[in-house]
């Protein structure tokens, strides 16, 4: 019992420290010892990312710490994922997200931050990369049964494609099936409203909060 508690505490610490190798090794150990994965995630890893969030909020952590911890969390979850799937326990995931930088735009830093934070917060994220054709977003969302489509653009010119995607969803009768979130430097709340998007996040943390609010309400276990 004591050793399990120590293991959970180590998982939390690995996330807080952004120690990816430790986070993965601990996940592998949890599998080897057949621990309750629900408990591993809820009591080991999640408290870590929560602590990171708190350190960020208090001004202790900056983006490098925030993102490395998020990446660390993603890595640990990736180790656990096959076992979770086998146990039909993926339901702990907050929802499925398809994300990408829109057609004509190869700027992907903002999108990467958002994708990373979404994964770290328990979303199943399919990152399509940059310069993603509009039709590809829709295909990927249909294939994966996504809940959310997240569109990023850095350029004013490519921002226009965000509107096109929403129109395309309407034309195909799919608008109701996916929530569409938009973001990127030139994007504003007003733009999101104008094009009929479901939401706009001005930064990665805002995007996570928005996705949590709009995503499906699934509970673990």
């Amino acid at each position: 019992m004591e050793s399990k508690d120590r293991l959970l505490a180590a998982m939390t610490a690995a996330i807080v420290e952004g120690d990816r190798a430790a986070a993965e090794a601990l996940a592998a150990k949890a599998l080897a010892e057949s621990l309750d994965l629900h408990e591993v995630i809820e009591k080991g890893y999640i408290p870590g990312i929560q602590k990171v969030g708190a350190l960020w909020e208090s001004g202790e952590y900056f983006l490098p710490e925030l993102i490395s911890s998020a990446e660390c969390m993603k890595a640990a979850l990736a180790v656990l994922k096959p076992a979770l799937a086998a146990a039909r326990a993926e339901a702990f995931l907050r929802g499925k997200v398809v994300i990408g930088t829109i057609e004509g735009d190869i700027h992907d830093i903002g999108k990467n931050l958002v994708a990373s934070m979404l994964s770290a917060n328990g979303f199943d994220v399919l990152d399509l990369g940059a310069d993603v054709k509009l039709a590809r977003f829709i295909e990927a969302a249909e294939e994966t049964g996504a809940d959310l489509i997240c569109l990023s653009s850095l350029l004013t010119t490519t921002m226009l494609n965000q509107r096109r995607l929403i129109e395309m969803l309407k034309e195909r009768g799919l608008r109701g099936r996916f929530k569409v979130l938009v973001g990127g430097a030139p994007v504003t709340r007003k733009w999101a409203e104008d094009i009929g998007a479901d939401g706009y996040g001005e930064n990665a943390l805002a995007a996570v909060k928005l996705a949590v609010a709009l995503g499906p309400k699934r509970r673990l276990g």
């Binding site: 900056f62 983006l63 190869i106 004013t156 010119t157 030139p186 930064n203």
Partner: protein, 490 residues
């Protein structure tokens, strides 16, 4: 007479410059650059560089880089609309121009940012024409009342009609080159005349780290072949899209710019290129790209120094601010940037009027920045020896009242030695109160209204205007846009 010293600031030692360049060349040779444009990849392939059609990566060797540098002109010459006034971009010359492609404008009446309209673009061009310390204009605003798809040519269309200065512009789409080139050639009276006397510079921004997109590489190729100078705008963000150390970011910056320069020279040997950029010290808390950060300015000054070492004309985004209103921060960051750029001898300094991380233009700030640029020019003018002896004889000529005001020497030199401000407040407190206790931004707005109300627009002649309108109309119609906003001037 002792020669006037040109005040100058350098941040890097020679061995440090050489080390940065060497690493940049190694980076291009070992890691390579991502070239999305097929035509550019063919150029590299024909030059014997290893290109990978799957990863779109190109490795560039030292010899090709050195050969391309050899081919690049030391200076770029631009000419105004009349073709008479020449501006040499190179050496330690400094030319200021407004920051380009703002997606918003700070509305003075509401003190809020809003989307720019054609009417704002018109005012911007007219004001830039009036600013004596801004040598170039830029396509500074993206008008929201025209479809985004033709916003590139439309900005140029408005600027060329209302301001006679050379113009810094750029493409939003590959198809934008044709109409924009036609407009420039129309002003010059032909493609060959345009090649002989360039009127515009096209900015092309690689995407950090080490990527040249399809559009930007095409812009380099098309401009090189038309004799239009390309300004390479590498824009690494420290710790986000480039190494976090300033020196590390400089390596990437130089590598990205060199890759662009090679594309230009492969497309047309001898093509005019400006070694520029808009990098930023990434803010690790806000995730923003502060242009007013001192580290941003240090990177700018350093790569400009490297550009000079490589015998290239230079450019930087300096003299702008991240403030959202015309407050102390706006003046502080813009003032510091413009002065440092001038001291570093950056040849083209883009940023006047700009705020909120390169996203917003303020017409009031444009006028304030014009004054800042005037001060920067005065500074680099240096301290000159006007007389021999300097002052001894003046003291002999002084009367018992010790009055310099009435000396002919004073009258002879005061306008040359001193610059007069129009917006900076130099009134006594009482006089300032008497004038309505106005802030600098309010005084700038008053001046804006005077300029726009009392001067007539510097319009192109009607025949040329018709020609430009026809090119713009064709461009719009070619993508199914029938109606353009009315351009109200005055």
């Amino acid at each position: 007479m002792i020669r006037t010293m040109r005040p100058k600031t350098e941040l890097l030692s020679r061995p440090f410059i050489e080390k940065i360049i060497d690493e940049a060349i190694l980076l291009l040779g070992r890691h390579g650059v991502f070239v999305e444009n097929a035509e550019a990849r063919i150029l590299f392939k024909e030059a014997g560089m290893p290109t990978d059609e799957t990863s779109l990566k190109v490795l560039i060797n030292r010899k090709l880089i050195e050969d391309s540098l050899e081919a690049t002109p030391l200076t770029v010459r631009l000419y105004d609309r009349t073709g008479e006034k020449e501006y040499v971009i190179g050496h330690d010359n400094v030319h200021f121009d407004p920051g380009s492609a703002a997606v918003r404008i700070l509305d003075h009446a509401t003190q809020q940012e809003r989307l720019p309209l054609t009417a704002d673009l018109v005012q911007m061009a007219r004001l830039t024409d009036s600013c004596e310390n801004l040598h170039f204009q830029s396509t500074a605003l993206i008008a929201s009342d025209v479809p985004e798809i033709i916003a590139d040519s439309y900005r140029l269309f408005v600027g060329l009609q209302l301001c006679s200065k050379p113009i810094v512009t750029g493409l939003f789409r590959t198809a934008g080159f044709r109409p924009m080139f036609e407009m420039l050639a129309a002003v010059r009276g032909g493609a060959e005349e345009l090649r002989r006397k360039p009127l515009a510079v096209f900015d092309a921004c690689p995407s950090p780290p080490l990527k040249w997109s399809h559009l930007t590489a095409q812009s380099l190729i098309d401009c090189a072949r038309a004799g239009i100078p390309s300004e390479l705008i590498s824009m690494g963000l420290t710790g986000a899209t480039s190494p976090v150390t300033l020196a590390g970011t400089l390596v990437q910056h130089v590598a990205e710019n060199l890759a662009g320069l090679v594309i230009c020279q492969l497309a047309q040997r001898g093509a005019p290129v400006i070694f520029g950029g808009s990098p930023a010290g990434f803010d690790m808390r806000k995730g923003t790209t502060p242009m007013g950060a001192i580290e941003t300015m240090m990177i700018d000054m350093a790569y400009a120094q490297i550009g000079k070492y490589l015998k290239l004309p230079t450019h930087a985004y300096m003299g702008l601010s991240d403030a959202k209103i015309n407050d102390s921060q706006a003046g502080l960051e813009s003032g510091m940037g413009a002065v440092l750029a001038a001291l570093a001898g950056v040849n083209v300094v883009s940023g006047a009027g700009m705020m909120d991380f390169e996203s917003t233009q303020s017409l009031e700030k444009l006028l304030i920045d014009n004054e800042i640029c005037g001060m920067a020019y005065r500074l680099i003018g240096g301290i000159a020896q006007r007389d021999e002896p300097l002052a001894l004889r003046l003291f002999e000529a002084l009367g018992p009242e010790n009055q310099f005001l009435t000396l002919p020497h004073t009258r002879k030199w005061y306008r040359v030695e001193h610059m007069f401000t129009t917006l900076a407040d130099r009134d006594t407190y009482e006089a300032w109160v008497g004038l309505g206790r106005k802030s600098m931004a309010e005084r700038a707005h008053d001046r804006l209204e005077r300029i726009l109300g009392e001067t007539s627009p510097n319009l192109v002649d009607p025949a040329l205007q018709k020609e430009l309108q026809a090119i713009m109309r064709n461009d719009a119609q070619s993508i199914g846009i029938g109606v353009l906003p009315e351009m109200k001037i005055g």
